[in-house]
Amino acid sequence: MFLSMNWISDFVDFTGLDKVELIHRFSLSTAEVENEIFYKGADLSGIVVAEIKSVENHPDSKKLHLLKVDIGEPELTDVVCGAPNVRVGMKTAFAKVGAKIGEIEIAPRPLAGVMSYGMCCSEAEIGISDDNSGIMDITDDAANGTDLKDLYAIEDIVFEVDNKSLTNRPDLWGHYGIAREFAALAGRELKPLDTADLDAYNALAKVDMEIEDPLCQRYSCLQVENISRSVSPVDMRIRLFYCGMRGINFLADLTNYLMLEMGQPMHAFDSRKVGKIRIKRFAEPFMFQTLDGVERRIDENTLMICNDNTPVAIAGIMGGLDSEIVADTTTLTLESATFDAASIRKSTVRLAHRTDASMRYEKSLDPEMTVPAIARFLYLLQEYDPDVQVVSALTDAYAYHYPQVELRFDKAFVDRYTGIEIDCQTIVNTLNSLGFNAKQDGDVFDVVVPSWRATKDVTMKADIIEEITRIYGYDNFEINTTRSPLYPVRADVVKSNEEKIKDILVKRYNLHEVHSYVWAYYDEQKALGIPVEENIKLANASNPNIETIRRSMIPTQLCQVKTNVGYAPSFGIFEVGRVVDGVDENNLCVEYKKLAITLYSKTEDVRDLYFKLRDMLAVLADDLKHLPLAYKKAEATHAYEHPVNLNTVMLDGREIGTLGIVHPTVGKKIDKKSAIVFAEIDMNAFAEAENASVCYEEPSKFPPMDYDISVIVPAGVFFSDLKKSWENEGEGILRNTKIVDTYDTELFHSITIRFEFSSSERTLSSNEVQGIMDRVIANLKKINVTLR
């Protein structure tokens, strides 16, 4: 919303104050002002009133005319002009030689061979309207040669307030409300509005009007006739234009002017079309043509203004074409009303039609404003068109009164909230300057919230704090830390596990952390041959490509691997993110926080890559939990899973995730020749595992003893099976086993296992070690594992 300092100055005397400085303070204390401040008319000089004394055709041009104009100088001035509306006797805006319009300085110059000493200007050229159809037609009485800036308020400081920052302030949607803020900030009085005395017409008949629907809070109207003026005063048009409104005609301009001044939208009907005003909704939907000529579908929830049963306007949004003021309108009915804000807002959404009026109604306008707005309207109407006649009494139905808001608070409350000292007098003065009727009794304050702030904005004590502090100025606040006592803070296990995991994967394994989206991408997955699995969907996805929430992060990561195929011959990515696995019995989403890792390599074979990932997971479990992982063969159920080597990862008896190889069909679509493996771990299941304790062990003073055996392992026998052969045979001296060699031929698969023995108490004898190993070998034999 654009605001004019001239307009605001109608209501506050700023003598001796820096207006721009005040605008900055307004931005810090009330609502955000956009950065650029417009100094209207500042780049304009030397424009005067000129009277056209003669008009002759240009000898060489059909468009141009040769004029002689009187600019208040002894001699007439010759000027060449191309405007179509030139006529003898017309007064216009004239840029003299030496005049400045923006960057342009007017100099004598030939136009089609004839010298021109100046320029006749259109309103658009001097920036006071968008009318460029011809040169300005000045009808006001002014001596020739009068500087236009002395005649009209062309110079102004205009600033823009971000509408969003006014959402909660219905009182700031007009200049008068803004002026109240400026008055409070400047410490000056706010002048009352000049209004007409409506009581003078009480004897006249009332308008036949009735509110039949609770969505209308208040409806006030008045009938006037004998309006002779059709063009608005120039100053009014300039203000409207500076504030972003196009001039239409006097009546329309005046309703707009009122709206911009008081924030109260108004509407003028042709009284012939609204003899019997009824405000109501219709049970059946129908089509309705608004004054912009558009047919709109009105449903059963949209409040309408009607002439008996004929709708004439969409309440609070826009008037109808049929009841608009037309050329032969003699009597008009002026509407000033308030409606339920939520209802207007919903109607604008349904109609997809937001207007200056509805924008204001959505903010919960003060119903107390309807009658003063009519009084102000009438005052201006009579000032600019003195013959106007009021032909009805003020007719006012006030169906819904907001409750009066009275608040009591004490000084301690203010001190507690602010954390600084603001004295009682400042508190009272600030509140009173904003229209809160504040009274102080000792440490206790009583305030009555003004009606324009009581529709939703100020309802409780905390709201008062804002009023006091924003005018006090946050820049003036002393900054203090708290006095709260300190207690130890315990970190969340899932969160701290997550951070440690990231460190290990990045710092030890050189993986790259990525982020992604929580939904599955149809197109990208389709390109990889991974159908999007059925899951809960977004109800309002703007893009069907992202409709379904993902069940697993692996398809997402495979898409990301695909994007990065050219990045390096080998790389690994990981992410801690979320998936949803359908809904539970209460129809709530079952959300999981997962760690997903994908490794890609063109150079390593799939076995090495698989074991690399297996070891990563083992290190994570060992480092964070001091626990080993176990694996359970899993059946492939997803398109991206290779059926072989798919394992469920187990930690401390819990299933915590999956480790696998990418299905070759998918893999080949990512990259023809590469190995891709993946793992997905449930972070919460991982976090739930208790840390196993670790104890320091004195290094043994006695020599250890290693014993290697090479065995042939039949197909289908896993190391975990072999392990059972020595698990109970170690006698406390078998410390560790590891595979030190593997040897494969076409006939057999053989491994060399090293058994590491040691004791912290004594030197081991080869006999006792041999005894253990004999039993181990015997046990192995039972599962057909024999020495090579």
Partner: protein, 351 residues
């Protein structure tokens, strides 16, 4: 007899000097000093000698034995030394100035920014909370004073799910749960609630270089008996100064957010121009950074905390925006792209 010893001594001496490696030397040791060695063989002829001669001869042989053993030892040392020298001579000169392999993993820039913010708050006794991404209408809106049909719901284009739940449009969705989680300890034991809760948020809007439908926020709040606006400014200024590693000037303006009263927009002085005005700050010298305010009494009440007894502040920091500012990321979409050309640059938090 004497002659034999001398001959043997000379012969062995010659052989030791000629031994080219340790193996040859070892063989020599056996062939001289061993049980069947040449020196040992000398002793075999001693039985024919007189007692006197035997004594002298034996002493001579023992002398020879000792001298040969010593010579062999010396030769071993020489050979070892020669081997080391040979090894040294074999070592090529490396070109230490070739480009090093710097390949290593990387953190997501959001993780880095998040950790920096978390570190500051942890150091001041705040807990870091985790929260789901799918939440209920109650969590995201109702409980934080945004009832149905509130205009604030329009400001946030929320992604709704088929079951009526939604993807959280703001981290404030966690406020109620956190107030409830720690409220008891506040009321019964006087332990202030100090929590930050970073998280992914979602808005149903078209994406471009400056807009994303998926982004990160970090919200924080503190509730105790006398938490004030002055405290809020202190914490914001301190946190931001730590994060940006310079003395940040903050500026508060009134701002309307349903979950706070009073609510503020917090601006910081523009780092790029130092506050004199530049295109980044739209020539104002200030950058709008985060909404904050005093927690609305309705929000406290809904969280089981009496607003007449306790006050608190809350703030919401755009982590994504912060990371972009800090690292100079121009296109927000790079962050969720998974593109390693962009993301692999963030190798450490000292970045």
């Amino acid at each position: 007899m004497d002659n034999r010893i001398d001959v043997l001594r000379e012969e062995i001496k010659q052989k030791i000097a000629e031994a080219a490696d340790l193996a040859e030397l070892d063989k020599l040791r056996v062939s001289t000093l061993g049980k069947k060695g040449s020196i040992t063989a000398l002793l075999k002829g001693m039985k024919d000698l007189s007692n006197e001669e035997r004594k002298t001869f034996g002493a001579e042989v023992n002398k020879l034995k000792a001298s040969v053993a010593e010579k062999i030892e010396k030769r071993v040392e020489v050979l070892n030394q020669m081997a080391i020298e040979a090894e040294i001579n074999l070592m090529p000169v490396f070109d230490v100035t070739t480009p090093p392999d710097l390949s290593r993993g990387s953190y997501h820039p959001i993780t880095l920014s998040q950790r920096q913010c978390e570190a500051v708050f942890k150091s001041m006794g705040f807990t870091v909370e985790d929260y789901p991404e799918v939440v209920t209408d109650y969590e995201c809106f109702e409980s934080v004073n945004i009832p149905k049909h509130h205009p604030a719901r329009d400001m946030q284009d929320t992604y709704y799910l088929e079951n009526g739940q939604l993807l959280k449009s703001q981290t404030s969705a966690a406020q109620n749960a956190i107030l409830r989680k720690y409220g008891k300890n506040l009321i019964e034991n006087g332990v202030p609630i100090k929590a930050i809760f970073p998280g992914r948020c979602f808005r149903n809007e078209a994406t471009d270089a400056c807009h994303e439908n998926t982004f990160f926020q970090m919200e924080g709040m503190m509730v105790d008996k006398d938490i004030s606006i002055s405290n809020l400014i202190y914490f914001m200024k301190t946190m931001l100064s730590e994060v940006f590693k310079r003395d940040i000037k903050v500026r508060l303006r009134p701002g309307f957010f349903p979950f706070v009263e009073p609510g503020f927009e917090l601006d910081i002085n523009c780092e790029i121009c130092g506050g004199t005005g530049c295109p980044s700050c739209k020539h104002s010298g200030w950058l709008e950074l985060c909404p904050c305010g005093m927690i609305h009494p309705n929000v406290l009440r809904e969280g089981g905390i009496d607003p007449d007894e306790y006050t608190g502040f809350a703030f919401g920091l755009g982590l994504t925006r912060l990371a972009m500012m800090k690292y100079g990321v121009k296109d927000i979409r790079d962050l969720n792209s998974g593109n390693l050309k962009a993301l692999s640059q963030f190798t450490d938090d000292v970045f």
